[in-house]
Symmetry: C2
Subunit: 290 residues, 2 copies
Amino acid sequence: MFLLLGGSGYVGSVFRRSLEARSIRYRVVARTEVDYTRRDHLIALIRDSRASFLINAAGYTGKPNVDACELHKADCLSGNAVLPGIIREACEACDLPWGHVSSGCIYTGCKPDGSGFTETDPPNFSFRTDNCSFYSGCKALGEECLTGSSRTYIWRLRIPFDSIDSGRNYLSKLMRYDRLLDATNSISQLDEFANACLECWARRVPFGTYNVTNTGAITAREVVEAIKMHLRVDRPFRFFESEAEFLRLAAKTPRSNCILDNRKLLATGIPMSDVRDAVASSLKAWKRES
Amino acid sequence: MFLLLGGSGYVGSVFRRSLEARSIRYRVVARTEVDYTRRDHLIALIRDSRASFLINAAGYTGKPNVDACELHKADCLSGNAVLPGIIREACEACDLPWGHVSSGCIYTGCKPDGSGFTETDPPNFSFRTDNCSFYSGCKALGEECLTGSSRTYIWRLRIPFDSIDSGRNYLSKLMRYDRLLDATNSISQLDEFANACLECWARRVPFGTYNVTNTGAITAREVVEAIKMHLRVDRPFRFFESEAEFLRLAAKTPRSNCILDNRKLLATGIPMSDVRDAVASSLKAWKRES
C-alpha cells in the first residue's frame, strides 16, 4: 500500500492515474484528515497504514504562478523546504522507502558546452547562488534537507505537461498567456514522469536523485509550432523580445530556464521519450477542458 | 496585555523578568497549549487575548550548540525562517504590532575599515553568500520573510549573556568549554537587550531592524581576563591556535564572529552600555547555578 501526499494537485492526480493503471493500492492523504506537516502525526499514519512506500507530491507552487511565492514566503518555505525534511525524518523513523517530487528549477541555463546539468552538478539557481526566485530557493533547500537520506528518491520534475487542458499544463499555459518568453528547456510529460517514478521503486533502482525529464530540450517557439500544427491553431502567438523585457513587463521574479541531462535515469533502463515526441503525443491526444 | 512566544527559553525567560519589572501584563504561550506555528490558531489567540503587542522569542537553536542545526534542518528552518513569516501574517491580519528576536549571526567579520555592520548592510553570512551555518542561513531567511512588514521590530541579539550561570550564558560557556576560540564579537547583555526591546515599543520608536548589542566589540580573551579577575578563577584557559584548528577539531559548521554597529538604536535614546562595562557588571552580580 502506497501513501500519496499531495494527491489532489496537478502532479498528484497524475500519480493517481499511474497507480490505478498499475493496480497498486494507495491512499491519498489530505491535510484536513491527517496533518502530515507534523512529524508525529505522519509517523502514526505510516505505522497505522502499514504503507510500503510513500510519495510526496505535495508542495507550494503559488497561484497563478511562481511570482506569488515572493509574497507567501512562509508557505513556500514550509511546503517546499521544511515538509521534505519532516517526511524524511518520519520515513526514517519507520524505515519506509519514499520518493520526493523535486524540481529542475534549481538550475538555470546549461553547461558551457551546451549540455544539460547532471545530478552531480550543484544547483546554480538557488539561495546559495543568490540569483533565484524564492520558489527555486525553497526547492533547493528542500533537497538540502534530504542530504544523506538513505532510502529516498529525489525525482526532479521540470515544466509538467500532459494531454489534458488545464491551468497547470505547460501546453495550456502557452495557449493562454498573452505573450510568451522564448526559452530553451527540458520539460516533463507528466504521465511519463509518474510512470518513471513508480518504475524506480518497482525495479528497485538505487535510491538517489534523478532528473526525470524527457530526453533533450526544446524552445517555447518549437512547442508553439507543434501546438499550431496538431491543434490547428491559426492565430499568431506573441513573444517578448528578450528575457529582460519579460522580467520588466510580466514577471516579479526571475524564472528558471534550463537543460537537464536525464541519462542517469535512462541508464537504469527506465525509458523517457524524446522531448519532441512527448509534446507531439500529448497534442495528438489533446482533450479540451470540459 | 503582551503575548510572549518562546517564554520558556533562555531569551524568553529574561523577557519575563523585564516584563515583570515593568508590571506589564503578559501571557507566555506554550506550543502545547496553542500551536502558534499555525496561522489560524495564532490569529484566534491574538483575537481572544486582546493582546496589544506580541514578542517572538521562540526559535530553534540546536542542542548543545549550533552544530545540531546541521542535522535538524527541518526544525531549524521551521523555527527560525517559517515561524517569523507566519507570525507576521497573523499579526498583520490582526493589525497587531510585534517584535521578533533575530540574530546578528547573519554577519561575519566587520567592514573594511574595522567598523561594525549597520542595519542597512545586507547579511554576509547567509545562504545567499553561501558561507554560513544552516542556523545562520535560516535566521537570515527569517528576516527575509519579514521584508516589507509594517508594524514589526526586528531585534538582533548577538551572543547573549547575563549574570546567572547557565548552559546558554556566553560567560558560562567560556568557563565550561575545554578550549576556546579567540574571536572578536559584539555581544548582548540579555537584561539590557530585553529592556531595550521593550523600550522600543514603550517609546514608540519607528518600526524596523535594530542591532541590539552592547556598544563596541570584545575578544574572547578579554572576556576570559574579566572572568579571571571578577570570579577569581585561577586556572588556565586554553585557546585554539586558529579558527581553522577550531573548525577542524571542535565544530561541524562555521561560526559567525562579527561586529555590529548599534548606533541606530542609541540614536532613539535607548541606552546600551559599553561591552566591557556590561561584562563586568554581569560578573560582579554573578550567581552560580544552584
